[in-house]
């Protein structure tokens, strides 16, 4: 036996330390408490700095929240906020009698404070760009909040899911290092009882929650970043639920007392194609690359079936916006024809070139990301089959951005809430060539710009619907990316609670969102 000596010595060590037998972790539980193994730990719990801006935060409430279909529903606001006819003023009326968990009553001043702090350049908030249209936030009275915008912004109400903080807690404190950041006070269904950084967080039910006290009283969130360690501890019975890669979760498919939940998401992975290279500046070549990629094969092999093919940044799960005709089928023959037409002809060795210049498209991915690595390799092999040399290189996000003009990169992102937030900064030519992670492919298309602007500024649902249909059609005729897949997020859950509902998820799925997005409404199975 290879590791017998190690075991013997470990055993010797145990005797020396004085081994006490561990008490069984699983007590006779009635489902009033739950232990969650989370893959990522929040850096802080302050909405001002960027914690849970899309709601489902457990500790806070926004003016609005989302139901299982992602429809906005009133939360701290009495009814959904409404816009003035010109779309420049949004007004929200607060629910009466809401208090923070420390007993302070919620006032419109708290809402004003929260949004003003996000916009304050000194706060270093990571979500300030979401509110770039806002010029002023004010409270005409204790229960009314008014947002003034510099231009009409149709999806503004989608941004109002940001959690509201009590202004009292920040008197004379620097937001960047406030004690509040790890011991917050909110109006939400849970309060933070303890947060042992790097280990776990314990949440207790807020018995006076305005939406009704949660039935699951204690939530313990254990942070284990490593997938295998999380799988091991789930198998040891330590967790009631955890997030696992599809292949590891598969082990629970037939296991008694467990459920595997596969939630759809708008979390995409895509190949950003630089639009200024001689090869890829021709839309025909970019369409050819899209047609040459076998997305279904990627989903079957790399993702173990847990995903959907992507063509645009708009997820097929967003029925309201998704245009079913805006897709790329897998058609290498048509791709070859398009490449020929564009003048990139195959030589005797099958490699394409034009005027003596070889067809070459390097593909970068961020080194630590195993999924993106596998997708980069699969994409490169499909592109190579078209006769284009596609070397794959591991690097960092920073380098991917620096080389955005000459290389393609595997990027990720996406949110399911509105086509504007999913597409505007990514594809509008206003952002082409700007610094930062906006329009990384320097994509320019006047029809796409026009449709995105109409969709952003119009408040009429029919006009918006038409604008995003136009956008998707214009985009697939001239794609700036090869969007590859929308990932499904997979979870293993002990089958002990009722009340889970499927919700299309954004990229984030640690403590917030994920299968436990509506945990406050779960009830123990008797």
């Amino acid at each position: 036996m290879h590791h017998r000596p190690a075991i013997l010595l470990v055993a010797a060590g145990l005797v020396l330390v004085g081994c006490t037998s561990p008490d069984e972790g699983a007590t006779a539980d009635t489902g009033q408490s739950i232990v969650i193994g989370a893959g990522s730990e929040p850096e802080n719990l302050n909405p001002i700095l960027g914690y849970a801006p899309d709601g489902a935060s457990k500790v806070f409430d926004g003016l609005v929240a989302r139901d299982a279909q992602l429809k906005l529903v009133p939360a701290l606001a009495e009814e959904l906020p409404s816009a003035s006819a010109d779309g420049l003023v949004w007004t929200a009326k607060l629910r009466e009698g809401t208090t923070f968990s420390d007993g302070t009553p919620l006032s419109a001043q708290d809402v004003v404070f929260t949004y003003e702090s996000v916009l304050d350049p000194k706060s270093n908030s990571t979500i300030a760009s979401r509110f770039d249209a806002v010029t002023d936030v004010s409270a005409p009275d204790d229960r009314t909040v008014e947002f003034r915008l510099s231009h009409p912004y149709a999806p503004f109400d989608q941004q109002l899911s940001l959690g509201i903080v009590p202004r009292k807690a920040f008197k004379g404190v620097d937001v960047s290092s406030a004690p509040f950041n790890s011991a917050p006070i909110g109006t939400g269904p849970y309060t933070v009882a303890e947060w042992r950084k790097g280990d776990r967080m314990t949440l207790k039910a807020n018995e006076s929650y305005w939406g009704g006290a949660p039935a699951v009283k204690t939530v313990t969130v254990v942070f284990v970043a490593d997938d295998n360690a999380r799988a091991t501890r789930m198998a040891a019975g330590e967790f009631d639920g955890t997030v696992l890669p599809p292949k590891l979760a598969g082990a629970y498919d037939a296991k008694q007392g467990y459920r595997v939940v596969r939630n759809p998401s708008a979390d995409y992975r895509g190949l950003g194609i630089p639009s200024e290279l001689p090869l890829t500046s021709d839309p025909k070549v970019r369409v050819a690359i899209n047609l040459g990629i076998n997305r279904q094969a990627m989903i079957d092999t790399v993702l173990a079936g847990a995903g959907k093919p992507a063509a645009t940044p708009i997820s097929p799960y967003l029925d309201e916006w998704y245009d079913q005709s805006a897709v790329f089928r897998h058609d290498p023959a048509e791709a070859a024809r398009l490449l020929d037409e564009a003048g990139w002809r195959a030589g005797a060795d099958g490699k394409r070139s034009r005027d003596g210049q070889a067809a070459r498209l390097p593909i970068l991915y961020p080194a630590p990301d195993v999924l993106r690595k596998e997708l980069a390799l699969a994409t490169a092999s499909d592109i190579a089959k078209l006769g284009i040399d596609a070397p794959v290189e591991a690097t960092t996000l920073e380098v991917m951005l620096q080389r955005q003009r000459e290389t393609a990169s595997i990027w990720g992102g996406g949110d399911p809430y509105d086509p504007d937030t999913a597409s505007y900064t990514l594809l509008h030519s206003r952002y082409a060539g700007r610094s930062g992670y906006v329009n990384m492919t320097l994509y320019r298309n006047a029809s796409v710009d026009g449709a995105l602007d109409t969709g952003r500024r119009s408040l009429d649902p029919t006009t918006r619907k038409q604008a995003y249909t136009d956008f998707q059609k214009a985009y697939v005729a001239d794609p700036g990316w090869a969007f590859l897949v929308f990932l499904d997020h997979t979870y293993v859950l002990r089958d002990r609670w009722n009340g889970q509902a499927e919700q299309v998820e954004p990229h984030d799925h640690g403590l917030v969102h994920a299968v436990w997005w509506n945990l406050e409404r779960w009830t123990p199975k008797s």
Binding site: L8, V10, G13, L16, A236, L426
Partner: protein
């Protein structure tokens, strides 16, 4: 030894301590500056790391604003001096990645690391002494051969491999011990809980560190067996036990003291790996995060801390050595 000589000796030790502490200052300055320069040269950008996921689509103006607020584009010397000025005044600054004062980040996590490391180290020493002596005593016998072989095997085994193996056997298969963390999920922080959760990480740390001590003690004992005073003791007809424990072990323990200091860096590295495998909420994860996020303030503080521990460990070893053996010179 006369009291005068003792006093002179004491003064010499004091001078040694002062000299070493004086020397520590430039070392700390150099190490912390090198760290800033290295971090600056790394391909990671602190502002982008701070945004994380939300960097996608963040408006260039907002990103530029934070860059400006933090002064990350200023020359590295300027940033370093700003950090140093505050650090000397006792203000370690705020951790950018954890949005918390650095002193709090360290205060929260360091005690758990100290607990793990001190028990692990003590246990490793104890194992080293016991098994090393046993092996030397029975040189060539089956006990010696077993101990030596196991020690060499463990020397070669990576710490994280030992950790995962222990996790698999004792937590997953036998269910004797919990697999990680500080307490069972949902349990309150208590002595019993922490002790049961300490057993595996501490044992793995000790077992990974012990072989070196075992082999060292064995080697030194064997050497001292051939020294005059031991041979003399044997020839006087003293019992085997008296000879080994009373004469040979005592002299061979001296070099052991210096090792305590010299092994500290190894111990810290081992502790980082053990903490990672067992999700121990010590300083390890914060260290890795600080490096990946180019969190200057946190990295600076942690580096100075680790360097100080190593310097102090070496100094302590030298002082102990000097106090234990009057022949040792104090010029170094």
């Amino acid at each position: 030894m006369t009291t005068v000589a003792q006093r002179r000796r004491g003064r010499a030790v004091g001078l040694l301590v002062l000299r070493r502490l004086g020397f520590a200052v430039p070392v700390l300055l150099l190490v912390s500056f090198a760290l800033f320069a290295l971090a600056k040269a790394s391909p990671f950008d602190p502002v982008e790391r701070y945004f994380g996921l939300r960097i996608i689509g963040a408006s260039p103006e907002r990103v530029a604003q934070i860059r400006e607020n933090w002064g990350v584009d200023r020359p590295v010397v300027e940033q370093y001096l700003a950090w140093l000025r505050h650090a000397v005044a006792g203000d370690l600054g705020d951790s950018l990645s954890l949005r918390q004062p650095v002193s709090e980040v360290i205060g929260d996590r360091l005690p758990w690391t100290v607990l793990l490391v001190s028990i692990g180290f003590g246990l490793a020493l104890l194992l080293g002494l016991l098994l090393g002596t046993a092996a030397a005593w029975r040189q060539g016998g089956w006990l010696d051969r077993t101990i030596t072989a196991v020690s060499y095997t463990l020397e070669a085994a990576p710490v994280f491999w030992l950790g995962l193996a222990a996790l698999y056997v004792f937590a997953l298969q036998l269910h004797w011990l919990p697999g990680g963390g500080l307490t069972d999920a949902g349990a309150a922080l208590g002595v019993g809980q922490v002790v049961t959760h300490l057993v595996l990480p501490v044992s793995v740390l000790a077992v990974s560190q012990a072989p070196w001590f075992v082999l060292f003690v064995r080697q030194n004992l064997l050497e001292s067996f051939s020294q005059d005073h031991v041979i003399g003791a044997r020839s006087r007809g003293l019992t085997d036990r008296r000879v080994v424990l009373g004469h040979a072990l005592r002299t061979s323990l001296l070099p052991f003291l210096t090792l305590l200091g010299a092994r500290l860096p190894e111990l810290i590295t081992g502790a980082l790996l053990v903490e990672t495998v067992f999700s121990w909420p010590g300083i390890a994860r914060a260290t890795v995060d600080a490096a990946l996020n180019v969190d200057f303030a946190l990295m600076g503080a942690l580096t100075v801390l680790a360097t100080s521990v190593v310097l102090l460990g070496n100094l302590l070893a030298d002082v102990l050595y000097a106090l234990a053996d009057p022949r040792v010179g104090l010029d170094g």
